[in-house]
Symmetry: none
Subunit: 155 residues, 2 copies
DNA sequence: CCGCAATAGCCCACTTTTCCCCACTTTTTT
DNA sequence: AAAAAAGTGGGGAAAAGTGGGCTATTGCGG
């Protein structure tokens, strides 16, 4: 569904254009209704079509009421989610708080992750990519570090 | 229902504006009648539409009379709850005692948690978020520490 | 029982943000 | 090379948020 990374300029008002190749998909998937929120693991944002987001929200809601993880996810991930709508020019307006969280400046990178998208600042994206590549290679050298699921990923 | 976080300025009189996107919902859900109280676990306040609050109150009342946790909830959560009414400009006035409890100063954050809302001081909110994020990341680095619940939350 | 002070409520005015639209530049396509 | 499409930027109107002043109400002390 979503694939590849696109460098995009955020303008002074905090808007960013969604690449055209996604627009048709977004249109009939969710009529341009998106949900954006933070990523707990990384300094980036997650952008999902509304139906996809609902599936996640339901999973979180289904967790036991006193589960600390569920509480955390509900409070910080759901709690910081915002509904967005593509504007007439196929752009979205990034909420200020989330812009701050992900340290977004003018140059941002939109990364396709199949069902959803990630939004990174260019600086963080490059840093994270280099870092991950190194640790990935290190992991391959370390016996036992490869999960079963990954072993079966024949590619 | 409620989703996302909004930074809001409390004015010198202790009033805070409720974001407009909630007003219509609040209007036909409870005609602007809200209940505010403390959160026992965190340094924040809980704001709920009256009908939602009633459900909670009934559940607490239904607990066995000698249940110590129930007693606590009833005494301190129900005991400190206050009815609020949206004013003509869509604002609520935060009771002084509760303002103190949650350490609210000028900058507060309103967090949407589906059925209800949370009110945090900006400082406490950021601190709590950073803390949670750290422990979340630590959990991921520690193999085996990931609960089944999380594994199923493949998102 | 009355007056004073403090708090709460109402309303208006100002500032900031958001939304909508158009125009310009760059890239791709024919 | 021209035309079309995509991406970028900005102006202006509208709406949301913020703050302050004025009035009404409450509660307290005299």
């Amino acid at each position: 569904m979503f694939r590849g990374s696109d460098p995009i300029n955020m303008d002074a008002k905090g808007r960013m254009a969604i690449p055209t190749r996604y627009r048709a998909v977004l249109d009939d998937l969710c009529a341009g209704e998106l949900v954006i929120t933070i990523d707990m693991k990384s300094t980036c944002l997650t952008l999902s079509p509304l139906p996809e987001w609902r599936r996640f929200e339901e999973k979180v809601a289904a967790l036991p009421a006193l589960d600390p993880l569920g509480e955390m996810l509900s409070r910080f991930v759901v709690g910081q989610a915002k509904d967005l709508q593509l504007d007439g020019s196929g752009r979205i307006l990034l909420p200020t708080e989330l812009r701050d969280y992900a340290e977004l400046e003018k140059k941002v990178v939109l990364v396709g992750r199949t069902q959803r998208l990630e939004i990174w600042s260019e600086a963080n994206w490059n840093a994270e990519r280099d870092k991950s590549q190194q640790s990935y290679r290190a992991m391959l050298d370390e016996p036992g570090a490869i999960s079963d699921a990954l072993k079966n990923l024949s590619w």
